[in-house]
């Protein structure tokens, strides 16, 4: 059966299920604290149910049976028959892990392993705690799923109906799906008529198969169990039509008509966000019997001559008007299928899923966004060149009107490219919550395994950053959190002893700050120990005793980012292998970001990460040094001053700039870059900041501000200098972008060697 499921369907399933799994993690942890939140419980149930439905459609038995067990357990909680305890949540979270693993196996093309029996047993136990009769947990019968469905109701005819909800993006296309379904049903009918008139079975068979595939795509997308089983039947008919004995064809045709008879009211009901619950098992069995070339033994069913009779004989009880809103079943006019679905007066049905008006979304491959981003980068460069051209032209003797036209066209182009760039960049932006969403689970697990009590607070999760930033931030964040939970937060008893609340708190605080995103991870644990860090740093040969003595506490703390440095006396399974914080710094500097640690012993530790919002385009100030122009990222510039003898002097051989109350190391760019000197040299001092370090750069001229597209400079011919990249200027020439981090660091080092400055100091570890 699997062979008729195409890859795109599988991919959709994987993407969607993975998202649901992430959400499940978050919701389950929330549920633990909000045990009475039935809405949340329903949400969890729906997510699991969706995964189960899709898995069963794709014939993923291992996943279906497992999700099924989890669903049963969850259902008990929804009915209030099982209390939401830590143990239950543990089981559920483990189940989520198993499903996640199964999804991964599927994505990797491996065989999906069945869930561990002990966990399934545990789930069954939860499901059965208060009900001696186990719920049917063997297969995916419509009957049983009915009992699991939300808001079960009995339709007038006796058939059960449950309301269903769709995620917004699905709800939006619901009317189209209903149309498609009715259309397919009509086509199927014409096929069967032709078959009855003696058309070639081969041709009809192919058409039926094609139709079933169309329907199957819809059914799979909407995760509708009944429809899935109906479509499977149609498919089976199509497959065996050629091989089956001719005398059975009328009986099969009748059953296909029966299916059509079912699909029509079904489509109408789905259009109203309700799904009937039909026990189709017997019907399916008998159809299968027929298709395998045997006659049906049950007399009533075999003798049936109309669809209704077949259904009655096979135990599917569907009266003529099965839906409460009594949509005529035999005239499947797509009234209800149009965009104005609701027929009833109930205002709720006008917003079938409670999510109408939600944003419509389209999934786009990241690759496409990236190539779009590159193109916009090129375009910004070209725009800059045109702007330069415009300036050159306006110097020429042209008619005034022409000059004006050039100016206004160029400024229009400027604005449009700017908007385009922002727009494209925005498509790549994702909220940090996408990353932070996993953390409550991580912290909960850590707390459980270490017997600590830890509260995680997340502030500013809606802050958006570029996708690439998000991805590179993932690992460092986990490392930091683990460190905070493992090494920072003390055991409850120790906390009480030192007069703190038993429960430790880790706060993640994210916010935009200029062109940067700042993420703080604050814990109120025991803080870092200067003595331990300093002695370790000396032991590891990172620094010397003499140097340590002159360092401030915060300078000593930065040692935790050095490679092979771990303060945990014992290596735990959580952290403490001495690689974590090193990875943190490497990853963050890859993003052009910074990481700092501030700590007060006994009160806690704050780790602060600052990273640029985007890595490709940045506003920069072009400055002239000698005969060249260099770019300095605007985000790093604090101010620009004109130094004179009163503010610019030398301390112990190192040049410094006195800026109001602070003294900054001063870098003579002419010297550093080997540019020629003249009377213009060192006219301006650009005060830059990187992390918490400041420095002044002496430059000759200020050229102006420009958006620059960063091009890498990393082959062995051009790397090595204090440059983070290069960019193409308006005139088409290349300017190098100054690496502010490297400059401030080297300035501080040479400065510190000259004379330590108390106010603004730091250390390059």
């Amino acid at each position: 059966m699997n062979d008729f499921i195409d890859d795109s369907l599988v991919n959709d399933f994987l993407t969607e299920s993975n998202e649901l799994i992430e959400q499940l993690d978050v919701d389950l942890v929330r549920l633990e604290t909000e045990t009475g939140n039935t809405e949340l419980l329903d949400q969890i149930f729906r997510a699991l149910h969706t995964i189960k439905g899709a898995a069963s459609f794709l014939n993923l038995d291992a996943m279906t049976s497992f999700t099924h067990a989890a669903e049963d357990a969850l259902n008990k909680m929804r009915k209030g028959e099982v209390e939401v305890t830590e143990h239950v949540i543990d089981c559920m979270l483990k189940s989520v892990d198993i499903i996640r693993n199964q999804l991964k196996e599927m994505a990797d093309g491996d065989a999906i392993t069945y869930g561990p029996q002990h966990l399934i047993d545990a789930l069954h136990k939860i499901a059965d705690i208060k009900s001696p009769q186990p719920t049917a947990s063997s297969s995916d019968t419509p009957d049983e799923s009915g009992s699991a469905g939300a808001a079960d109701a009995v339709a007038p005819g006796g058939a059960q109906v449950r309301s269903i909800e769709f995620p917004p993006q699905k709800a939006d296309v619901l009317p189209f799906m209903v149309d498609d379904l009715l259309d397919s049903a009509a086509q199927l009918e014409s096929c069967i008529e032709q078959l009855a008139q003696g058309a070639g079975a081969g041709e009809i068979s192919q058409r039926v198969v094609d139709l079933s595939e169309t329907m199957q795509a819809t059914a799979g997308f909407f995760d509708l169990e009944i429809l899935v089983s109906l479509v499977k039947m149609v498919r089976a008919v199509g497959d065996s039509l050629i091989t089956v004995d001719e005398e059975l064809i009328p009986a099969i045709a009748l059953r296909v008509r029966t299916i059509i008879h079912l699909i029509n009211p079904y489509a109408e009901m789905i259009g109203e966000c309700r799904e009937p619950v039909w026990p189709l098992e017997q019907f399916a069995d008998r159809l299968e019997t027929l298709l395998s070339g045997k006659k049906i033994e049950d007399q009533a069913s075999a003798d049936a001559t109309t669809a209704i009779e077949v259904l009655e004989a096979d135990g599917v009880f569907i009266p003529e008007s099965s839906s409460p809103s009594s949509v005529a079943t035999d005239t499947p006019v797509s009234e209800a299928a149009g965009p104005t679905t609701p027929k009833s007066d109930d205002p709720k049905s006008e917003t079938p899923t409670g999510t109408s008006g939600a944003e419509q979304t389209v999934r786009v491959e990241v690759k496409r966004l990236e190539s779009l981003m590159n193109l916009v980068g090129e375009m910004v460069l070209t725009k800059n060149q045109i702007r330069g051209l415009g300036r050159t032209l306006s110097d020429h003797t042209l008619p005034h009107e022409v000059k004006e036209m050039i100016t206004s066209t160029v400024s229009d182009l400027d604005r449009l490219t700017g908007e385009l760039q922002v727009g494209v960049m925005r498509t790549r932006m994702q909220p940090l919550d996408k990353l932070f969403g996993r953390y409550p689970r991580i912290i909960r697990d850590l707390a459980r395994s270490t017997d600590k009590e830890i509260d995680l607070k997340i502030i500013g999760g809606e802050t958006e950053v570029d996708k690439s930033v998000l991805e590179l931030l993932a690992d460092p964040m986990v490392h930091i959190l683990r460190n905070s939970a493992d090494h920072g937060i003390e055991m409850p008893a120790d906390r009480l002893a030192s007069g703190k609340p038993e429960t430790g708190t880790i706060t993640i605080n994210a916010a935009h700050q200029g062109g940067h995103v700042r993420v703080e991870i604050v814990d109120n644990g025991k803080g870092l120990s200067r003595e331990k860090l300093a002695s370790l740093a000396v032991k590891r040969g990172i620094t010397t005793e003499a140097q340590v003595a002159s360092l401030t506490d915060n300078e000593v703390y930065q040692f935790i980012f050095a490679a092979g440095f771990s303060t945990a006396t014992e290596v735990s399974n959580l952290s403490g292998r001495g690689v974590g914080m090193d990875v943190v710094r490497t990853n963050i500097s890859k993003l052009g970001g910074e990481v700092h640690v501030v700590s007060t012993q006994g009160e806690g530790t704050t780790i602060e990460i600052t990273i640029p919002l985007t890595v490709a385009i940045l506003p920069a100030m072009l400055v002239g040094v000698g005969t060249s122009e260099y770019a300095i990222p605007i985000a790093n510039i604090i101010e620009i001053v004109k130094p004179d003898e009163s503010t610019c002097y030398s301390v112990a051989g190192a040049a410094v700039l006195r800026l109001r109350e602070t003294v900054l190391p001063l870098v003579d760019m002419t010297d550093l870059l080997g540019e020629p000197r003249d009377e213009q040299t060192g006219q301006f001092a650009v005060v830059i900041e990187s992390g918490q370090q400041c420095a002044g750069l002496l430059v000759d001229r200020l050229v102006g501000q420009q958006e620059v597209v960063i091009k890498s400079l990393d082959d062995e011919y051009t790397s090595g200098g204090p440059f983070s990249g290069a960019t193409i200027r308006e005139d088409g020439d290349v300017s190098l972008i100054l690496d502010i981090t490297a400059l401030t660091r080297s300035a501080q080092v040479s400065h510190d060697q000259g004379a330590p400055v108390p106010a603004q100091t730091s250390i390059a570890v």
């Binding site: 590159n374 870059l673 540019e675 090595g720």
Partner: protein, 174 residues
């Protein structure tokens, strides 16, 4: 070649065929010597353009240029060969080549011509060629009126291990 060839053609053909294939080269001048590289390695030849100096880079690196939106390094071949500074003339050119996936430009005093020579007139490099380390020399082509030094681009530019993949990835990222 074909049977319809004239006698002279045939004679030339036997000459070349017996020993090896034809080499298609681009010849250029650096200092007083004439050098050549296989034409298939050449991406393009440009007139001199604005080269941005990259401070703190190796001495023989002249800087970087904007090659239609891509930034590529340019090596001063005179400096690479230790021949001292070149005088800039209107005949100076930047030859752009690809060496193990990396695009690199180098400056030459003058580009001479595109020529075909038969591989059998190329000798192994002598131990010393006009002061250049012979590592870079693949062979010496003996033309009727002059000598041609065939350069090995891989040895000339590919001697530092920076994978092509890494650079490409970095370029894509930017």
């Amino acid at each position: 070649m074909t049977t319809t060839s004239t006698t002279t053609d045939l004679m030339q053909d036997t000459n070349t065929q017996n020993d090896s294939e034809l080499l298609q080269l681009v010849s250029f001048v650096v200092g007083v010597e004439e050098y050549a590289i296989p034409i298939l390695r050449v991406q393009e030849i440009n007139r001199m353009m604005q080269i941005t100096r990259v401070p703190q880079s190796p001495e023989f690196v002249e800087g970087v240029i904007n090659l239609r939106g891509k930034i590529i390094p340019v090596v001063d071949l005179r400096a690479r060969f230790g021949l001292g500074c070149s005088e800039s003339t209107s005949e100076n050119r930047i030859i752009v080549v690809e060496v193990s996936g990396r695009v690199i430009g180098f400056t030459v005093d003058k580009v001479n011509e595109v020529l075909r020579i038969s591989a059998n007139i190329v000798d192994d490099p002598p131990t010393m060629v006009s002061g250049i380390e012979t590592d870079y020399v693949e062979g010496v082509g003996k033309l009727d009126d002059r000598l041609l030094i065939l350069l090995d681009l891989n040895k000339l530019f590919g001697d530092v291990d920076l994978g092509a993949a890494g650079e490409q990835a970095a370029a894509d990222a930017a």
